[in-house]
């Protein structure tokens, strides 16, 4: 796999040349005898129509999407220039990419772009769409939408004001007009900018790569669906943990520290830290707490500690922190920790707190700790075929993922 030098990714496909403006009506009319003399006027008319009815397909993924909505609202009112928002790409002219595009989303953006009929344009709204903002060096975000589809107008900002977006649309109108008239000239690039703004993470380009591999990657996020259709629970996955109704315990409220000390054999509770409980007693403790009125699940967090050498040598280990809460006036939180060896599975809490389902999936996805008895232990954040668990300390934050970055 060849790793190219970052500047190369800034080939800026849009500026390379005016896009081919394929106009079916125009072509038909031109071929009609006698009409070609009117070509100039017709040209004007079509370009006028195209630039004055820019219907937007909102590729709104995050914060910038809110400003895109605000641009359609009464203060800026994009409708003044005839711009309306169409929900289907088939009837849109401009894709406004507003928000961060992740590796999981990028194939979809491309698919949607390809569904838009020519002539079409793209506006990259906000730093995320332009360059990936401060997420650009992270494993899951692509460094700018122009690595996926050609961009015509960049509207910088985080987020750009609605007025800025409207300005961007007006600039696009100018560009359409100039392109049609053949006078459009791509602005000169400042070569210095290319080095100062380049991402530190290389774009992975592999000449020997089998294109079907890329297709697989594109389809990767659909794997979940495919498995859902065939609907086999992953081979060997256990039956869901049994649920036992937890009868409420009416005994008077007890201090949580006393409880774990007396009933769960925790002798030493460090100040300011949650008590460390044996893994085998995890579920029992949760069930006991639930009976005591800690009805709400707060969090399940796994953290990874890499192996250390030298003076403070320590083996690799994981730690799971978990908390539940009583509701109502004077709400109390009970939190405890489990120490885990690498590869050790934790019994799932799904049977006690239904909400543990997604929490544990997320921790499994990001740290790789397995939860025994979990009914559906699949990745939740990353695509199904992702390699590695990003929140481990040995996982570099800027691990590249072909082909999208």
């Amino acid at each position: 796999m060849a790793v190219t030098d970052p500047p190369e990714r800034r080939a800026l496909p849009v500026l390379a040349g005016a896009p081919a403006f394929d106009a079916p009506l125009y072509r038909t009319l031109l071929s009609a005898p006698g009409l070609s003399v009117l070509a100039g006027a017709l040209d004007e008319l079509l370009a006028w129509g195209s630039r004055n009815a820019l219907w937007v397909f909102p590729m709104a993924t995050s914060c910038c999407g809110i400003e895109l909505m605000a641009a359609a609202a009464s203060r800026v009112d994009l409708d003044r220039m005839g711009t309306i928002v169409r929900a289907t790409p088939r009837q849109a002219d401009v894709m406004v990419v507003a928000g961060t595009i992740t590796v999981k989303m990028a194939p979809r953006v491309k698919a949607l772009w390809e569904q838009m009929p020519e002539p079409r344009w793209c506006i990259a709204m906000g730093s995320c769409a332009i360059s990936g903002d401060f997420y650009r060096n992270l494993y899951s975000v692509i460094p700018g939408i122009d690595t996926v589809i050609p961009v015509d107008v960049y509207v910088p900002g985080c987020p750009p004001n609605p007025e800025a977006l409207m300005h961007g649309l007006l600039r696009l109108q100018e560009k359409i007009k100039a392109t049609r008239a053949g006078t459009f000239a791509a602005p000169e690039l400042n070569p210095a900018l290319l080095t100062t703004t380049r991402p530190s993470i290389a774009r992975v380009v592999d000449a020997d790569r089998d294109p079907t591999q890329s297709d697989q990657q594109t389809a990767s996020a659909d794997h979940a669906t495919a498995s859902d259709k065939t609907d086999a629970r992953p081979e060997g996955s256990p039956e869901p943990a049994a649920y036992e109704a937890v009868a409420p315990d009416a005994s008077p409220a007890r201090d949580f520290a006393d409880l774990v000390r007396d009933e769960f054999g925790v002798t030493d509770i460090p100040a300011g830290m949650a008590p460390l409980v044996e893994t085998a007693k995890h579920v029992a403790l949760a069930r006991r707490l639930r009976a005591l009125g800690y009805k709400q699940l707060v969090y399940v967090v796994v953290s990874h500690y890499a192996a250390k050498t030298g003076a403070r040598a320590a083996p690799e280990r994981f730690e799971l922190a978990c908390a539940v809460r009583t509701v109502g006036e004077g709400s109390r939180v009970a939190a405890w920790r489990l120490a885990l060896e690498p590869g050790e599975a934790v019994p799932t809490l799904v049977g006690v707190y239904a909400g543990a389902d997604w929490q544990e999936r997320e921790q499994y996805d990001l740290t790789g700790v397995r939860f025994a008895g979990h009914p559906d232990l699949r990745r939740i954040m990353m695509p199904e075929d992702w390699v590695g668990h990003p929140l481990r300390k040995d996982y570099a934050a800027d691990t590249a993922c072909p082909p999208w970055r």
């Binding site: 709400q296 997604w358 929140l391």
Partner: protein
């Protein structure tokens, strides 16, 4: 096959389609990740029997921006603008939750004025956020080419009033980066209270109209009442917080039950509804907006004089250091309990070893496999809207 959770009298979130009536002619509808009413990039796969949903499978991660990993790379000082982008409808709440966690970790005292200002901002954010929710919910029910968009644009107009206030304080429409360790960075400008009151008066006056257009409108009621009923016990188990929990009859609000900021002095009236359906959720949010208006009025009157930040001015990114400790701090955002869990370790004293953001929206969405089956596609849209998910916060 009767599954475990079916025995609990609940919908089985992991219903196996193999076990479903093989005669049924099902259709699999991919709903999202790019769809006009998924509120961002959320996807759910709906197995439809006619128009009735048999199983709803949510998929997340289309906006996974690796914020937690990023926070491990940045120092304590650098993180506020990063977490701003999580809940992008109420960005200040993210800053507040994060900085409160760091303050607890480092034992930093927050001056009283800063606590009041933070509370004032938080309540303004709640109004803005609920206004946006009301508009987008109407959009879900009424469409972009109809009455829905009329309400949507009107609530956006009111939201702009609040954004103007924030712009005056911080210079930004959102993503403010105004909270910092030990207090706030931007002080209230002169004459701010007059402007706040004027904006509130305008919003309050129009809120009545919106209430008529929604809560008292027969179509709205028909579309929301009895739709997506979530029972309180399940909501608690799923970790659902905020207006959704209160709409399911559970009287729980961190502002009152675990006070922070100025809520020990400002008393919150917690709105609780018993219905558990979309209508109850709407009702709770509208009541909260009214209560927030009252709280902002009280807060702006009561902001005490004094310093705005209790920590020495930040000059270096690596200035703040912590070597040990684990803290969890939670606040009540417009969507519920937003918590920050920080682990400090001696390996890297300037940055957290692990930072987890406990987002209310993620928990809210986990109700979908339970409450969507049995509803129609139209209801699924209404239910999703009533959960008010912000994908930036769900996927982080």
């Amino acid at each position: 096959m009767q599954t475990q959770s079916a025995r609990r009298g609940r919908v089985d979130p992991h219903l196996s389609m193999r076990d479903y009536d093989p005669e049924a002619d099902l259709m699999l509808l991919h709903f999202g990740p790019q769809h006009p009413s998924t509120h961002g990039v959320f996807r759910m796969d709906l197995h439809l029997d006619g128009e009735v949903v048999v199983k709803a499978t949510p998929y997340l991660g289309y906006l996974h921006r690796a914020v937690e990993k990023l926070c491990e790379r940045l120092t304590y000082v650098q993180q506020t603008p990063v977490v701003d982008k999580n809940d992008y409808v109420a960005p200040m709440t993210n800053e507040q939750a994060l900085n409160m966690a760091f303050e607890k970790l480092l034992n930093v005292e927050v001056p009283r004025r800063a606590r009041w200002v933070r509370t004032l901002f938080a309540e303004l954010q709640r109004i803005a956020s609920h206004l946006l929710w009301l508009g987008t919910f109407a959009l879900d029910l009424g469409g972009a080419l109809g009455g829905g968009s009329t309400l949507f644009i009107h609530t956006f107009r009111e939201r702009e009033l609040i954004l103007d206030l924030f712009e005056e304080v911080t210079g930004a429409r959102f993503h403010y980066n105004t909270h910092t360790l030990g207090g706030n960075r931007h002080d209230l400008p002169a004459g701010f209270d007059v402007k706040v009151k004027a904006a509130l008066a305008e919003i309050e006056a129009r809120l009545d109209g919106y209430e008529t257009m929604t809560l008292h409108n027969s179509i709205f009621v028909a579309r929301t009442r009895g739709v997506g009923v979530l029972d309180g016990e399940l909501a608690l188990e799923l970790g659902i917080t905020g207006p959704i929990l209160r709409a399911s009859g559970v009287d729980h609000d961190l502002r009152r039950d675990a006070p922070y900021g100025a809520y020990d002095e400002l008393k919150v009236r917690v709105a609780v509804e018993q219905g558990g359906d979309c209508y109850a959720r709407a009702k709770v949010r509208v009541a909260e907006m009214r209560d927030s208006i009252r709280l902002v009025r009280e807060a702006i009157e009561g902001v005490p004089e004094g310093p705005l930040c209790g920590f020495k001015p930040i000059r270096l990114v690596g200035q703040v250091k912590a070597t040990a400790g684990q803290v969890y701090v939670a606040i009540e955002t417009p969507r519920g309990e937003l918590g920050t869990f920080v682990i400090a370790s001696p390996d890297n004293p300037t940055a957290p070893h692990r930072l987890k953001i406990r987002s209310p929206s993620l928990h809210a969405l986990s109700a979908i496999p339970y409450i969507v089956p049995g509803a129609t596609v139209s209801d699924a849209v209404a239910i999703l809207g009533s959960l008010d998910p912000i994908m930036g916060e769900v996927d982080r």
